[in-house]
Structure formats: C-alpha cells, structure tokens
Amino acid sequence: MTPEQELISALQTIPWFQDLNPEYFDKLAGISSLIEVEAGEKLYQQGDKQDYIYVVLKGRVAVEIAIPGKGRTRIYTAEPIEMLGWSSVTPVVRQRTASAVTVLPCLLVRMKASKLQKLCDQNHSLGYVVMRRIANVAASRLLVTRFQLLDIFSHSSDEGSNV
C-alpha cells in the first residue's frame, strides 16, 4: 500500500467522514499527512499560530493550559477519533489557546487547517460534514467545561453538615 493509499484508508476509518462522497477523500488526502508521535511530545504550544488540525487515530493526547502562578493544568484528554486544534478551522484566525501533548504513543492525521477551510468553502457538502463535526466537538467540550466550572465533586456543601 502506498503512503497515499494508507492515508486514504486511515481517513476512511474516521466515522464522521463516512457520510462523505468518495471523491473528497482524495482531496482530504492532498492536505493531510499521517504522523506517529511518541508519548510526551508537544503537538502544539499555547500561543502558537500553527495551522494544523489533528484527528487522533491511536493513543491519547492531553490538552493543557498554562495558568500564570499555577503552571500547566490538564483540562482534557482526546482519544481515538477525536479532533484537536479545531478552532483553527473556524473563521476567525486565532493563536492556540491551549497546548497539546501526547500522553501515550499516538498515530494522528494532521491536516492543514487553512487548506481544509478553503476546501470547505469550495465544497459545501464537505464543509457541512466538517463543520457539523466541529459543532459537535464544541458542544461536548462546552459540556465538559461546564462540569469543570461547577466542580461537582467539591466538598463545599459539607460546611455545617450534620451528617
């Protein structure tokens, strides 16, 4: 199997791409690469303007935020078929708001975000599939963030408890 065929096969294993017309896999392969990364390596750094979006195929990646005075705090881990760096495909160009570090050895699909955005603009059916997924990712991250903000396991209600 050639590297390109291997990449297309990997893209075809991503469930949320399965609604795509087969012709789009060639186009996606043209802006993607398959990368293997050892545990403990940084995919991107908070503050970077790196232009990639990642899909985890194997392994686990931690998303961390550096908090002044507190250091790095791990806020999320991404598992197979999850997406990382998705905000770089949204219309407003941003710098990275968090860092991503591999926790386990990983196999990832890395896509050039600006080119993916352009492909989505040119092919709305592809754009719909990609943006639908990003909306889903954003919604799930929002739920996680809400729970973390609520701090549901805190013991603050214990004060004055008779039990």
Partner: protein, 289 residues
C-alpha cells in the same frame, strides 16, 4: 411492555426495625482523602450471623449524642462476616464515627431501602456510571456481577473523580478488569503523572458503542452527573425503564415518616434509594426539588 422496577423496599416501621444494634468497628481503610471504609461486626452473634443485605441498600449509623447518618453498604453482599460502609467525612456524625477508631462501638439499624434490580437485568449489557462518593453504593453491584459474570453481557464501569487521588478502591480495579469489567476512569484535573482520561462521566458516553435494546444503566453520584449520565443514555436510545439511579437525600428516619427526604410523591429512604428513572426522572428535573 414490562417496566422494570426496583425490588420492594424492605424498610418498615416496626419497633424492631427502629432499634439500632450495636456494632464494633473492626477495621478502617483509607480510600481517598476524607473517604474511609469502616468495617463493622455486630456485637450480638445472632444478629451478626443472620444479617444480610442486597446491593444498593443502606444502614443508619448512630452515635449517641451526635445523631444518625444514612450510609450505603459498600461491601460484598455474600460476605457479611464484616459489613463495610464507605464514608466521606463531612459533618458531625461522620467525624464522630471516625473518632471512634478501631474497637469503637456504634449503633446500626437497617438494612433499608430498595435494591439494584440485578436479577431482572440478567442477559443485558450493564453500564455503571459513578461519580465521586457515588461508587461505594455500586461496589456491591460489581461484586455481584463478578460472582455471576456469565449472567450479564458487556459490563462497563464509567467512573469519575475530582483528581486521581480521589479515586476509590484503586487496589481492586485490576481484579475488576480481570473479571471482565471494562473500566473507563476520568478525573476533572490532574498533574503530568496521570496518563488516564481527563474529562467528565457523561462525556465518556461519547466513546461507547451502546446497543440500546440490550443495555441498562445504573448510576450514582452528584445529582447533576446522574441527570446528564441518564440524558446521554437516553440520547443513545437506552429506554428510561432500564435506567436506575441511586439518590442521596437528607435521609433521617429510614421509613418515610419524617419527610426530610421527600422527592415529589416519593420518600428516598422508603421508596428508594434506588429508583427507576422512568418514575423519578421528571422530579429530578424540577427546580428546587
């Protein structure tokens, strides 16, 4: 269509059931910061020999002068030579229990309440979702499943805590996995040494491939986690009638007389603590209930 129900609560209001029986703390195990398992034996050998409980039930632990606390039983339902209660030190009663130490005596009355309907769930895939101190009431379920593994399909424990240090029963996790229970464990926050998942219990449902027609959910933890775990299961078309929740309310008397644990038309101590979500779900969604 059959609606699965929890077993009939065993609580009653006879004078015998209201009397605490004296028990001695024979061992204390630290599970997590401020969370310990207290192993107790009844002083009366007849009570000790005849005492039995079902997974999901609770006892009322009494310290004269301090009061009572309703605590779920966290030990093996068939190994009753000592009864385990896993307690988070929160207020007067739990701190008083802790101060007793090994050899201390306290009153125990129970068991009270409904049970996880494990017999009725035979043949199904079982998803157990627990958060924080919600795991101890589900540990007897895990033991029951381990003893009767062939009776159930896939079994997955989805368990979340605040930090890795707050995870309970970690020494047993390997044996649970070896018995064919898949563990998905996440924490809210951690340092670099944690290689597991960071996230929240409801989010882990995104990673499951649930066959809804053949699955049941048992859940216990903070009420908001229960709500969202049930929501995620329902979103994956698990029928409400096969979702069971264990609720913690301010239980006092143990048989529905005092009304402190009332939730809509139900008393958690008497009609629960295990409820079918189809029955209790609407009341969990009412503000201020």
């Amino acid at each position: 269509m059959t609606v699965l129900t929890t077993s009939k609560p065993i609580s009653d209001c006879t004078s015998d059931s209201m009397l605490p029986m004296w028990a001695e703390i024979v061992k204390i195990e630290q599970e997590a910061p401020r969370i310990k398992t207290y192993w107790m034996k009844f002083k009366d050998p007849i009570v000790q020999d005849t005492y039995s409980f079902q997974p999901g039930q609770f006892n009322l632990l009494t310290i004269p002068g301090y009061g009572e606390a309703a605590i779920s039983i966290s030990s093996h339902p068939r190994h009753t030579e000592a009864i385990g209660h896993t307690i988070r030190l929160a207020g007067n009663v739990t701190h008083a229990i802790d101060r007793l130490g090994v050899g201390g005596t306290l009153g125990v009355r129970g068991p009270y309440g409904s049970t996880w309907p494990l017999e009725k769930l035979k043949g199904l895939d079982i998803y157990i979702a627990a958060g924080g101190i919600g795991l101890p009431p589900l540990r007897p379920v895990i033991y029951h499943i381990m003893d009767n593994r062939a009776d159930y399909g896939k079994v997955v424990l989805i368990y979340g805590a605040r930090t890795p240090e707050d995870l309970q029963f970690t020494a047993e996790h390997d044996s649970w996995e070896k018995a064919g229970i898949e563990l998905m464990i996440c924490v809210d926050s951690c340092d670099d040494t944690w290689t597991g998942l960071v996230g929240v219990v409801p989010m882990l449902f995104y990673r499951l491939r649930i066959e809804p027609k053949n699955s049941a959910l048992l859940t216990c933890g903070p009420e908001i986690m229960i709500h969202f775990a049930a929501y995620e299961a329902i979103a994956r078309r698990v029928p409400r009638k096969r979702i069971f929740v264990s609720l913690e309310k301010n239980m006092k008397c143990g048989f529905g007389s005092c009304g402190r644990c009332q939730l809509g038309p139900y008393f958690v101590c008497k009609d629960g603590p295990i409820f079918n979500y189809k029955k209790i779900g609407p009341y969990l969604e009412v503000e201020d209930f």
